[in-house]
């Protein structure tokens, strides 16, 4: 049995690995523009959405888009960028993530003359340009939506994730707005762990509701993105604390469905992912055609969904 498995398994793995190559017609090499998209957050619904849309626009331009996800591993992300540089791709797109953590990869790209474009990522040396939402404003808008429903006073909890520069900027925007209302008190700021943010936020909210058990001891929860807002909503529903309101950011489908069906999840701020992906594909196309860009940072506003 053991001997047979030792022979059969490698053959099966080889066959499985070879199948997509064969199905994809690997025997017909073409001279196409090669764009590498590297991301640490493909498991995030919104990252996947914006990257998939960029892929659609890129393929319409006739480009070959290669997507590489490192599942939160920033060290591996640097390696992936270096791999793409050595494969001499025409451009690298960084799908979210803080580019300051990838300086070794960005240096390698710069030395090789491979441009790095940010897609909802940060902007730093080595990044040619970045297209992003105005995250500071997204956070501010979400805080405004929360204040609209709870009134201008009450205890508020914030769900943050500082390692992500976009979510960090949202939290800064929200804090600034909350500070303008003397009646609003931020009673807790909690870092939400990724991956698994929905379950983490749900458990944390259950604990918070135990800790702040008196009615009115929490008026609202501001979440830096929709997934923890969704987890918080479920915990509040289960506990029957219907007076608490929750807001998120991103405008994901599941958040909109929750907002439409129940009053606890009050609002989310939709990012214009389609606009971001379209603009970036246009900018990459212009760059490859030798045109110069007007700006190095493009910020796209969000809209409130409630």
């Amino acid at each position: 049995m053991k001997g047979a498995v030792r022979i059969a398994l490698p053959l099966m793995v080889l066959a499985a690995a070879g199948l997509p190559l064969w199905a994809g017609g690997a025997s017909e090499p073409e001279e196409r523009v090669e764009i590498a998209v590297v991301t640490p957050y493909m498991a995030s619904a919104t990252t996947a959405q914006v990257i998939n849309q960029f892929q659609e626009y890129g393929e319409e331009n006739g480009w070959n888009i290669r997507i590489s996800d490192t599942a939160g591993d920033f060290g591996l992300l640097v390696t992936r960028i270096q791999d793409m540089v050595s494969q001499q791709v025409d451009a690298i797109v960084l799908g979210m993530g803080d580019p300051q953590q990838m300086s070794a990869g960005l240096s390698a790209a710069e030395e090789a003359g491979v441009p790095v474009f940010g897609l909802d990522a940060g902007f730093t040396d080595g990044v040619y340009l970045n297209v992003t939402s105005d995250n500071h404003d997204l956070g501010r808008q979400a805080a405004e939506a929360l204040i609209d429903v709870i009134g201008e006073e009450g205890p508020v909890v914030m769900f943050t994730h500082d390692p992500h520069p976009g979510v960090r900027a949202r939290a800064e925007g929200a804090r600034e707005l909350f500070a303008e209302y003397p009646g609003i008190e931020i009673v807790r700021e909690i870092h939400i762990e990724v991956p698994g943010p929905v379950d983490f936020a749900r458990s944390v909210t259950e604990d918070l509701l135990t800790s702040f058990s008196a009615a009115g001891s929490i008026a609202g929860i501001w979440a830096g993105w929709d997934e923890p807002a969704y987890g918080a909503t479920q915990a509040i529903q289960r506990d029957g604390r219907d007076e608490i309101r929750v807001v998120g950011v991103d405008g994901t489908d599941f958040a909109k469905q929750e907002i439409d069906s129940a009053p606890i999840f009050t609002a989310t701020i939709e990012q214009d992912f389609d606009g971001m992906a379209r603009l970036l594909s246009n900018l990459v196309r212009d760059y490859l055609a030798g045109e110069t860009v007007e700006s190095r940072e493009y910020q796209i506003p969000g809209t409130v969904y409630r």
Binding site: L9, M42, V198, Q234
Partner: protein
């Protein structure tokens, strides 16, 4: 074969040492419960919170039961979180496409068993190291879950499905009932069947077990199948609890399940994984997280403390194994 601490039988200091080795982890758990009860008697030591706590840890406990069975043989299963996540994605996709709840659950559990069988073939029969084999498998299962969902969350599940993760059987949350069932099944399998005795024998000395006539490959293979099944059950409960499926929803289980088993190894049975020890390990991690949240300790510091306690537990486990 199974080891015990029977050699340490003289003198009060050795009695105390033996007592601490057997019951130290349980005492540590009791200490944490008392500590948080004193710090926040109005919140922590309430029935409602204790019910929350066991409900929060139920999914991890179910997954850890299977990981514990694999670890009894001296093997490892790093793919548990990926299998649970993939199971959730499979189940949610089936439900959204109109398959009934019962057949969807059955198919998901069968998929979990099949995934476990693949792990078992790779490790027990093809001879790949458990660490490398399950790490590689984990990568593939995560990729498959991302491929099925395109990285998005699957939602819009039928309302009746909520009962599994959010319902009650009398006053007891359904996930806790399922957890108790899985733990009891694991305990009976490990402690009261020939299969369980063979797993402990393999974990004690694989070569000796083989020479004693045990089909070590087959036993290790079925331990992985069991781990696949418990991971899929855990994924089903988690999907219902979150009423949605995400391709990496259970990713934290990879380390947390192993940590729970390690914590449990220091309890009840000297340095060996065991069903109730694993539950105790899960409860310690749950109490830490729940208590620190209620007390209001910074999330980053919570990670520091949790890591430190795990290191302590693993050190104790090592001491226990050396002296056993």
């Amino acid at each position: 074969m199974r080891t015990n601490s029977g050699g340490l039988d003289s003198g009060p200091s050795l009695d105390l040492q033996r007592f601490l080795k057997t019951w130290g982890t349980l005492l540590g758990f009791v200490f944490l419960v008392v500590l948080f009860s004193l710090l926040r008697p109005d919140a922590f030591a309430q029935i409602r919170n204790l019910r929350n706590l066991v409900e929060q840890v139920a999914t991890l406990a179910i997954a850890s039961a299977g990981v514990g069975m694999v670890m009894v043989t001296g093997d490892f299963d790093l793919s548990v979180g990926a299998v649970a996540s993939l199971s959730g994605v499979i189940l949610a996709s089936l439900l959204v496409s109109g398959v009934g709840i019962a057949p969807a659950i059955l198919l998901t559990v069968l998929a979990g068993a099949a995934i476990g069988a693949v792990n078992g073939l790779i490790i027990a029969y093809a001879g790949v190291s458990p660490f490398i084999g399950t790490l590689a498998a984990m990568t593939s299962y995560t990729g498959l879950a991302l491929f099925i969902t395109r990285g998005t969350t699957v939602f819009g599940l039928p309302a009746a499905f909520r009962w599994i993760g959010q319902g009650r059987v009398g006053p007891i949350p359904t996930p806790v009932v399922i957890m108790v069932g899985v733990v009891l099944a694991t305990w009976i399998l490990l402690d009261y069947t020939t299969f369980g005795q063979r797993l402990y024998a393999i974990g004690g000395n694989r070569q000796a077990a083989y020479l004693a006539g045990i089909n070590t490959s087959r036993a290790r293979f079925f331990a992985y199948v069991y781990s696949g099944v418990t991971a899929s059950i855990s994924g089903i409960v988690l999907t219902s609890r979150l009423f949605s499926a995400h391709p990496q929803a259970a990713a934290p289980f990879m380390l947390n399940a192993a940590a729970a088993v390690f914590l449990g190894m220091t309890a009840f049975r000297d340095g060996q994984p065991n069903a109730f020890g694993t539950v105790l390990g899960v409860l310690i991690m749950g109490v830490l997280s729940n208590g620190l949240n209620i007390v209001g300790v910074d999330t980053y510091i919570q990670s520091v403390l949790t890591g430190a306690i795990l290191i302590l537990a693993v050190l104790l486990s090592g001491l226990s194994q050396r002296s056993a």
